[in-house]
């Protein structure tokens, strides 16, 4: 059989019905070119010429997208927020542009420059919007290549359901309810925060994405090593970025059983939403690994807002208590310096008393930081509470 020339160009009107041969290799290569003329969908060649349609089924437009990766860097149909319409209306079709596909071949790390970072941020915002409105399962991790965003707790529906059943069997559903409520609130605020993307969020997100080595996107590295299901989950979503934080947080609990939804677990408060900084904090902690006296425990405690060793019962989950522990303050200091070199604040770890203004000193000496007045400089060494 002769090879169909139109097919090779991606323009064959007869599709399956064509008398000529459609070699499969040629088809794949010209998939991209097929888009505009077909106006109909990615896979249905038969779609093109209505007279050749044999059955009603063919009308269904496939919603296949060429490459998942592509969606992420372009953000056009990123979260699937209605980007690819299902019906025939060709006017609704928006192939954002042919560049969508050109990125396919050049999807290398070198692409990740400032330009694509902002694309990523846009993607994130769109995805958050979709996530909020679509009613999809909220307790899921989320990522944009190559990094994974912190602040999301991963719970599967089965795990949640099992908690409910256990609570029902033991007669105490209240614990389950309040845990779900906390999770839900945490998710909502994190999604809202990412959607509205204030400048500090943006910075932390970009640094998270640009430092995939700190993320667990490199498969298998640094997933939370604690076995206990739930309390560790939220910490592992943040400690997963550290890679070693989990060890500290585990508090030796080896029970790898199901979640314990006991509200006393500080897990929720830890990954509390506006602490997106934790993602960056972990970045800070990972780098100067020799910097802090008690490295793992400190970093872990910075997430849990509790005593490093105690499994504290009385931590109020929703409150914002910053402990002026070494890991945190310098980390937050570094974060809020706002520079892209997040780690590039002081080279000296601690400042002297004379370096600090009166207000900063007051902050450091007080029990809790006041929001909005958190010092940008690291604390003096003698004020460290270990």
């Amino acid at each position: 059989m002769t090879v169909c020339n139109f097919f090779l160009q991606g323009r064959c009107r007869y599709g399956d019905k064509c008398w000529n041969e459609h070699p499969r290799g040629g088809r794949g290569g010209d998939f991209r070119g097929n888009q505009q003329p077909s106006r109909g969908g990615y896979g249905n060649r038969v779609w093109i010429n209505p007279s050749q349609r044999s059955g009603g089924d063919y009308v269904q437009q496939s919603s296949f997208s060429r490459d998942g990766n592509n969606d992420w860097s372009r953000g056009g149909g990123g979260g699937g927020g209605g980007g690819t319409p299902r019906d025939v209306k060709s006017s609704d079709f928006s192939f954002s542009s042919q560049n969508r596909f050109s990125a396919l071949t050049s999807h290398t790390p070198s692409e990740k420059d400032a330009q694509s970072s902002t694309d990523d941020v846009d993607t994130i915002q769109k995805d958050m919007e979709v996530w909020q409105t679509s009613g999809q399962w909220p307790f899921s991790c989320y990522s944009v290549l190559p990094g994974k965003l912190s602040g999301f707790v991963e719970v599967s529906p089965e795990e949640l359901r099992l908690e409910y059943y256990s609570g029902r069997a033991s007669g105490d559903l209240q614990a389950y309810m309040s845990s779900v409520q906390q999770l839900a609130d945490q998710w909502r605020s994190r999604v809202q925060e990412l959607r509205s993307m204030s400048s500090s969020t943006r910075i932390s997100v970009i640094s998270e994405l640009n430092n995939p080595s700190l993320q667990t996107s490199t498969p298998g590295s640094g997933f939370g090593s604690t076995a206990s299901g739930f309390g560790a989950t939220s910490s592992s979503s943040s400690s997963s970025s550290t890679g070693f934080g989990a060890a500290g947080f585990g508090q030796g609990s080896q029970s790898s059983s199901t979640f314990s939804f006991a509200p006393s677990k500080t897990g929720f408060g830890a990954a509390s939403s506006t602490q997106h900084a934790s993602g960056v904090v972990s970045g800070v902690l990972a780098q100067p690994s020799s910097g802090f006296g008690c490295a793992p425990a400190a970093s872990a405690s910075s997430f849990s807002f509790s005593e490093p060793q105690a499994s504290s019962v009385s931590v109020s989950v929703s409150s914002f208590s910053f402990r002026p522990s070494p890991g945190e303050s310098s980390a937050s200091a570094v974060l809020q310096s706002g520079s892209s070199g997040v780690f590039g604040a002081d080279t000296a770890l601690f400042s002297t008393h004379t370096d600090l203004t009166a207000e900063e000193l007051k902050e450091f000496t007080s029990k809790r930081f006041t929001l909005g007045q958190i010092p940008l400089k690291p604390p003096p060494a003698d004020l460290l509470v270990l």
């Binding site: 699937g80 399962w137 899921s140």
Partner: protein, 369 residues
Amino acid sequence: MSLFGTNTGFGSGGTGVFGNTTTDSHNPMKDVEVTSPPDDSISCLAFSPPTMPGNFLIGGSWANDVRCWEVQDNGQTVPKAQQMHTGPVLDVCWSDDGSKVFTASCDKTAKMWDLNSNQTIQIAQHEGPIRTIHWIKAPNYSCVMTGSWDKTLKFWDTRSPNPMMSLQMPERCYCADVVYPMAVVATAERGLIVYQLENQPSEFRRIESPLKHQHRCVAIFKDKQSKPTGFALGSIEGRVAIHYINPPNPAKDNFTFKCHRSNGTNTATPQDIYAVNAISFHPVHGTLATVGSDGRFSFWDKDARTKLKTSEQLDQPITACCFNNNGNIFAYASSYDWSKGHEYYNPQKKNYIFLRNAAEELKPRNKKW
């Protein structure tokens, strides 16, 4: 306040569907209903292998039981037997000779059910609920593979109380599939690991997940020589990724597609996005079926990259599906999957398993190979 927002409900809208006098949308596809379905949500379905005559269907449920039905050629289903666990059953599988059924449960144990004697014995123990169970039949060994939320993957010779092997995973096991010599496990935090099972199971590769959200289900597909060559991975975000292990051209061969979303005909109204609860490949045609929280099932041809069919919407999510060994029967279970939390859980609502003739609808589109 409901966390899950203002979704359009299922079928006739919302929870109180039963009691509708006009159209009862629990079986809009008019498929055969399996008699005596379980009393709580069905978590898994499995048909008997070709080595035994007839079709037997096993279903595990959240009511802690595993039931067995015989499916006769005229479509009638006859309940045959039932076994119990002390916790909800999350996964079931058959041995290759069809004489034993393995069941995995939230009670951290897995049991082997000998159908001839109707006895069960415990064959596995984990530290956490066991989420997946598969039978591996290799030329030089046979074992049961269990994946658990305790982040381990264990391999059991059914005669011994200790595992033959235990592999550590980065996170909790969410779903797995085995087609010798390949096994794929998808874990929490978007983990994805491929194992090779020749000689003894070992980790082959960790893959960067092609999906952005939580993994929900995975199924291996084979190439035309019946060798496993890749897998389909579904997430909670209404998306399935088709991933080849060693494709000639990864950028072109691997792709994702969106499914189980409400019909957003224009970009103005936001789509409802539903989780993909299960994926099954047709054993003969190689086409795949996906079932979702929206209460629909869809058939797809991954080579032609087209959708073959989408069902009508059932009034409950579809939680499990499977094909029988020759691909003539497609079974799917309609029950609540907890996708909207406990508020939408109605213990009184009846759960169903439907059987559908799958011989015709799953034929691939592309006739040119």
